[in-house]
Structure formats: structure tokens, C-alpha cells
């Protein structure tokens, strides 16, 4: 069922905010409203559960509220579906939910670890030929193209076009620009209350080892007034891990499982 209004969604979710619920859905009202406006949000609801589907190009992202680990018969997995379940060691209900989705045809693609940088941690920039600045609206296509080159289309949490434009307008995208004017790198910021999330950071292959990532990171922290920052990183992303750890990020006990159903 496609969701037509925030009020309808709010009523749906509120019915499932019950003791013992397992969920990976923590969207903010503003984000839900945008998805609804784009006609990108649909739900499947039954007595003991609610699934939220966010339509993306060629696949859908899924979030869930489950009171019990069971599904009714429905056909909502007719297209590739990805979901991510973040938890700490103590969140046993979510570990069980991860196993449950695997029993429903989802495969574990990889796990990610969350790193946190305490607020007001200083991060230095380095000498670099790349100039870091905010992305302008006219640069959205170039930024989107660089994102598509650097991240997986389905599991890379790539923003939809409307989301990208919205984030540019809100000054949530920084770029590193080569002397030629080419966009050599990007950093995508997510806002979470008083803290921020480093959603994407990438430097094009031909511009690496020039200080771009370090300067994007330093500029991001300065731009966000050195608010507390979190980043999710794959264990096999050694370059990324070293960048974060060298700048003071620390594992904070959160891990996530990225699940995919073709």
C-alpha cells in the first residue's frame, strides 16, 4: 500500500511501537515526508508487523517493525530488496531478526562497524592541490556520477536524485576540486540531532594520495562545528578505517548487517 500522507504513516508506525518490537526504522518526520512526497514509500502491515519500503531505481530499501518473527503471505519481494540492521551486542532481538531475514531469502552481504569521533576533536588539514568547498546546485550531476563510480548501486546507500539536491541545498555536500575544475572527491553529511554522520566520502581514483580525503574530513568537521561524528565502515575498507582511526575515531560497539534479497 502506497503511503499518501504523513498522518497515515504515523498512525501505522504508532500501532507498532510496542514493548518487544524489533525495528531498524528510526526515520525522522522530515525524511518520511520527503519520501511520501516523492511517492517512494509504501508499507505492508499486519497485526504483528510493519514493513516500510522505500522505492529506489531498480530496487527497494526495507525497514521493519516486528513483534514476532513471522511473515504473512504477500508479494512485496518482487524486486531486489536491501535492508540494514544495526545493533549492539546486547540487542539480542535484532540479532534474532537478522537471522530471521536470512531464513526468508536474504543473504548477508557484509557487516559494518560504527566509529565515533567525540565532539570538538581537532582534525588537521594537509597541503593539497585539491580545493575543498561546498557543492553547488549545478554540480549535482557530477557529484552523482562520482558517487555511482565509487559506491555500489544497491548497497551503497546512494541518495535519490531529489535527496541529493536537497542535501546540496542544506549544505550537506562538500567536494574536493582539482585545479582543472573537475570534481575529484566528495563528502556527504547526514544530520542526526546535534551530531552528524559521515554518510559518504570518496576520492576519484586518479586523484588519490593527494590529501583529498584528509582535507574533506577536516572541512566537514569544521563545517559542522566539530559536532560528534559517526561513520559506518566495512572491515575490508582498510584505507577508510585508517583515515578515521588516525583522526581520532573509535569503535563504539555498534555493528550492522547489510542483507540483500535478489
Amino acid at each position: 500500500m502506497q503511503i499518501e500522507s504523513y498522518e497515515a504513516l504515523s498512525a501505522c508506525i504508532s500501532r507498532h511501537l510496542r514493548r518487544g518490537v524489533a525495528t531498524n526504522a528510526f526515520g525522522a518526520k522530515e525524511a518520511y515526508i520527503k519520501e511520501i512526497k516523492e511517492k517512494a514509500l509504501s508499507v505492508e502491515e499486519w497485526d504483528d508487523g510493519l514493513l516500510l519500503f522505500y522505492q529506489r531505481s531498480g530496487y527497494q530499501r526495507m525497514q521493519f517493525y516486528l513483534q514476532s518473527l513471522s511473515l504473512p503471505e504477500f508479494g512485496c519481494f518482487s524486486q531486489p530488496t536491501v535492508t540494514e540492521i544495526a545493533s549492539r551486542e546486547k540487542d539480542s532481538a535484532l540479532h534474532q531478526a537478522t537471522a530471521f531475514w536470512q531464513s526468508q531469502g536474504f543473504s548477508l552481504l557484509y557487516e559494518r562497524q560504527r566509529l565515533t569521533l567525540a565532539k570538538q576533536t581537532p582534525v588537521a588539514s594537509v597541503e593539497s592541490p585539491l580545493c575543498v568547498r561546498l557543492v553547488g546546485p549545478e554540480e549535482a550531476p557530477a557529484v552523482a556520477a562520482l558517487m555511482r563510480r565509487c559506491f555500489d548501486r544497491i548497497t551503497g546507500c546512494l541518495p535519490a536524485q531529489w535527496e541529493l539536491c536537497d542535501d546540496i541545498e542544506k549544505e550537506n555536500l562538500l567536494c574536493a576540486v582539482a585545479p582543472s575544475g573537475e570534481i575529484a572527491g566528495l563528502l556527504h553529511i547526514g544530520r542526526e540531532g546535534a551530531g552528524t554522520q559521515l554518510r559518504h566520502i570518496a576520492v576519484a581514483e586518479n586523484f588519490r594520495r593527494q590529501g583529498g580525503a584528509q582535507n574533506l574530513l577536516a572541512a566537514y568537521l569544521q563545517h559542522t562545528q566539530h559536532a560528534r561524528s559517526v561513520v559506518w565502515v566495512r572491515p575490508d575498507n582498510e584505507a577508510g578505517r585508517q583515515l578515521y582511526l588516525n583522526n581520532g575515531y573509535q569503535p563504539d560497539g555498534w555493528r550492522s548487517a547489510v542483507l540483500y534479497r535478489p
Binding site: 498512525a11 511501537l17 544495526a86 540531532g193 559517526v230
Partner: protein, 74 residues
């Protein structure tokens, strides 16, 4: 307040909830904790909360949570 503190200590042990005023902003409580706390509050205090109540400012301190509960009781 005591019932609320019991809930909070169960969800996140080792925090002095009588003093902290930036539980969300400082990352002491996470989104997942808020969902758990909301479910517990509805059960223990017999109040109706909904997704609109899941705002950081409602959960930055025990006092803010108590005010939210009181507002829903009225």
C-alpha cells in the same frame, strides 16, 4: 520519576539519568534505545505515545521524558 529511572537504567545501565541533560546530543541514548524506552513508557505509565513524539528534545533528559509523559496524561 522513580519508575522512569528504572526503565532508563534497564535500557542503559551505568548512566546518572538524574544529571544528564544531553542524552541524545551526546550519543548516550541512541534511536534504538528511544524506541525501547517509548514502548516501556507506554506500558508502565499507560500513556499513548506515537512516532511524532520520537524527537531528540523529548529524550535528552529524564525530566524531558517525564514532561512528555505528563503532557500525554492530560
Amino acid at each position: 520519576m522513580e519508575e522512569l529511572l528504572n526503565i532508563l537504567n534497564e535500557v542503559c545501565p551505568g548512566v546518572d539519568f538524574t544529571k544528564e541533560t544531553a542524552l541524545i546530543d551526546d550519543g548516550i541514548l541512541e534511536s534504538l534505545d528511544i524506541v525501547t524506552i517509548v514502548a516501556e513508557i507506554m506500558d508502565v505509565f499507560d500513556v499513548e505515545l506515537n512516532v511524532d513524539d520520537l524527537l531528540p528534545e523529548n529524550f535528552n533528559s529524564a525530566q524531558a521524558m517525564l514532561e512528555l509523559i505528563e503532557s500525554r496524561r492530560q
